[in-house]
């Protein structure tokens, strides 16, 4: 099948256009460097490929290298029907620089090129003048004004590339650097840049009100007094939203699962099967499903922040404080998205220019409390920390405990990064350092639909993947815990015998063998924990008991000290095989994930034992 390539500057709207052309729901964000891999999808009998953003045909960061290497391969491939260069109408001069380079290369390779001037909606609403026809005549390449957001001009764009004839075998071979290196000399760059400047002056937006309104907002968001305050308020809001907004949804899901679980169990007359449905399916899998709303809301709020353009400002404000820990302002964006999931977050570290800071960011990110930790936090905090408030009712104790767990992860990530920065200075110095330059994109009203779709997509994907894993583990756990003596005799089950054998390892953290088993299973993936515990306590419970998992834990003698120790263990331990795999891929080293795994487990164990002893002595 033939290909259509989408190229352009970072943040020019390539991914949104890709989604519109293919009907997919890839993540869109108002932050340079969100697509770090080539995405492809089929539409109208062609494969559409979305490339990572690049400022030119010379790569500086890893994501740009991915784009440019892919482009060099594709442009000589006869299967490439056309290249769409996405330009940002509000940043025309910079976009034109890449376009001019692409024009030259595509002419040499006889590959059709289409210039799609995106974000035209903002130009139209502000009634700014712009001459796309003139531009097209001047540069000798079709130029279309489009708005990926408002779906303007997309049909015309599609018709244009669908009507192009099939390409013949390209005569040119661009696979070596020689052909592209003409854009490397100072004279070449300056000449090209001047042409872009002239073209933009002549045909581009004849008004800078958009830039002026950006300056006004920056005056506020980057001001000495409001800047840090707004940042703190936004982070508080993010955190509060997961904690409070999700509650009604969670209650709803729990109620539904309880009723349907009871009902389903009565529908099956076979005793063992009915126990399996109740304990393994509904108590096990169900105790995880309850937390899906929190994951969904977390993705929405992070999505809103990303799409608004604010994140680049936060990166600027935090650059200096983060550099104290050996990190860069861009590390903040990686670490924030690590609160949703470490896997895409670690990949997004590709945009960090400095290899050394990139490595430190990758190592610090798994300490951030990802969404898979939320169920564990929520169950333990909700079940063990009293729902009272302190300081005259302003601060809820549960909220505070939640906040502390997030803070522990962030603090530990920063400390580890700082220590590595100091101790490994010789090794990391070899990696090279590059200074921080970041573009401040325009502020935009977040685009609700793609964000909600993306969040839904991610939550369902998460449930589906986790669901399979949790299901498999709960089946095994249920089987080992149910036999030989059936329900109510967990202590004498096979699992009970096994569990008591490993119990001494977990004693110092105040955990009994059941929690120990759940912790062990969750080294595959954190989300397994709640499911395993749900199943174990389901087997043990008396028939008809619908009390929550936390209540069951409490009545089986788990104290506040062990619950907090457990929560701290979860906030610091590396319990995700997929994260380790991504780390290996992104760093190209298998020593780093092994080091991170051992280091994080030791830190988590020590911290949990410490918390247990501390809280125990305080509460006695």
């Amino acid at each position: 099948m033939e290909n259509v390539l989408i190229l352009g500057n970072p943040n020019s709207g390539k991914t949104l256009l890709f989604n519109r052309l293919t009907g997919l729901k890839q993540k869109v964000a108002n932050f340079p460097g969100v697509t770090v891999e080539i995405l492809s999808a089929e539409a109208d009998g062609l494969i559409v490929k979305d490339f990572p953003g690049t400022y030119s045909l010379k790569a500086l960061t890893i994501d740009e290298k991915v784009a440019i290497d892919g482009f060099k391969e594709a442009i000589v491939d006869p299967k490439t029907r056309a290249i769409i260069c996405v330009l940002d109408a509000t940043r025309l001069e910079r976009s034109l620089y890449l376009l001019l380079q692409l024009i030259e290369v595509s002419q040499r390779c006889h590959c059709p090129l289409i210039a799609a001037v995106n974000v035209i909606d903002e130009i139209i609403t502000k009634e700014i003048k712009m001459d796309l026809e003139g531009l097209s005549k001047e540069i000798g390449c079709p130029v279309l004004g489009i708005s990926a957001k408002k779906r303007k001009g997309l049909k015309e764009l599609k018709n244009l590339y669908l009507s192009l004839p099939k390409r013949k075998q390209s005569q040119t071979n661009l696979s070596n650097d020689i052909e592209l290196s003409t854009f490397n000399t100072k004279e070449e760059i300056i000449k090209l840049k001047s042409s872009a400047h002239e073209l933009s002056k002549k045909f581009g937006p004849q008004n800078d009100i958009l830039l002026k309104s950006q300056h006004r907002l920056d005056d506020f968001f980057l001001s000495s007094w409001a800047g840090p305050l707004v940042f703190a308020a936004l982070m508080l809001f993010l955190f509060q939203s997961i904690f409070t907004w999700a509650s009604p949804l969670m209650e709803g899901i729990k109620g539904f699962l309880d009723i349907s679980g009871q009902w389903a169990a009565t529908q099956v007359s076979h005793e063992i099967l009915s126990d399996f449905i109740k304990d393994a399916l509904f108590a096990g899998l169900g105790s995880f499903l309850v937390f899906a709303p929190q994951i969904f809301i977390l993705f929405i709020v992070i999505g809103l922040l990303e799409d608004s353009g604010y994140l680049a400002r936060a990166a600027v404000i935090l650059h200096k404080p983060l550099s104290l820990f050996g990190l860069s302002g861009r590390s903040f964006v990686t670490m924030l998205s690590g609160h949703a999931c470490a896997i895409p977050a670690i990949m997004s570290a590709r945009t960090i220019e400095s290899p050394r800071k990139r490595l430190l960011t990758i190592i610090a990110t798994p300490f951030m409390s990802c969404s898979a930790r939320l169920p564990v936090y929520a169950m333990l905090v909700g079940g063990f920390v009293p729902a009272t408030s302190i300081l005259g009712g302003i601060v809820g104790l549960q909220g505070l405990a939640f906040f502390m767990l997030f803070a522990i992860g962030i603090t530990m990530g920063l400390i580890v990064s700082a220590l590595l920065d100091k101790t490994l200075s010789k090794k990391t110095a070899q990696l090279g350092d590059a200074p921080f330059v970041i573009e401040l994109p325009p502020y935009r009203m977040p685009n609700w639909r793609p964000i909600v779709m993306h969040a839904l997509n991610r939550s369902f994907g998460f449930i589906k993947n986790a669901g399979f894993m949790i299901f498999s583990v709960t089946v095994v756990v249920w089987f080992l815990g149910y036999f030989p003596d059936h329900a109510g005799h967990l202590d004498t089950s096979w699992l009970g015998m096994l569990g008591k054998w490993i119990e001494p390892i977990f004693r110092p953290m105040g955990m009994d063998w059941k929690i120990g088993v759940a912790v062990l299973t969750s080294f595959l993936a954190r989300e397994v924990f709640v499911g395993t515990l749900g199943t174990l306590y389901g087997i043990e419970s008396v028939k008809g008991d619908t009390s929550s998992l936390a209540n069951r834990l409490q009545s089986s003698g788990v104290t506040l000290a062990s619950a907090l120790a457990l929560a701290v263990f979860y906030s610091l331990a590396m319990q995700c095989v997929s994260t380790l795999a991504v780390m290996k891929k992104e760093t190209g080293s298998s020593r780093i994930p092994v080091f991170v795994f051992i280091g994080m487990t030791v830190v988590a164990y020590a911290a949990a034992a410490f918390v247990f002893i501390l809280v125990k002595s305080l509460t006695q």
Binding site: R91, N184, S223, K320, I438
Partner: protein
């Protein structure tokens, strides 16, 4: 041209002050100067300092209709024409 004492860098620009780029200092790597030129920081271009944000954050500059924030280290490496030679250039 101007002596080394006289040369100013982006760092010397006050808020809302404009300057014309003259050269890059040698401590910036070759790849970096390429990228800076591509972003618009090329010899002869005018740059404006927009803000010096709080907490010692990197400063904000406007060039060619785009806005960038850059670390002190780089800003220092971008040399500007001194005000006198600017006047004669105009």
């Amino acid at each position: 041209m101007s002596s080394s004492k006289k040369t100013r860098s982006l760092l010397d620009l006050k808020v809302n002050e404009e300057g014309q780029i003259y050269s890059f200092s040698a401590h910036l790597s070759h790849d970096y100067t390429i990228r800076l030129r591509e972003l618009g920081f090329r010899e002869g271009e005018f740059v404006k300092c927009l803000k010096t944000p709080p907490l010692g954050a990197p400063r904000i500059f406007e060039i060619c209709g785009s806005v960038y924030s850059m670390e002190t280290e780089i800003a220092q490496g971008i040399k500007l024409l001194s005000s006198e030679s600017e006047k004669t250039a105009k």
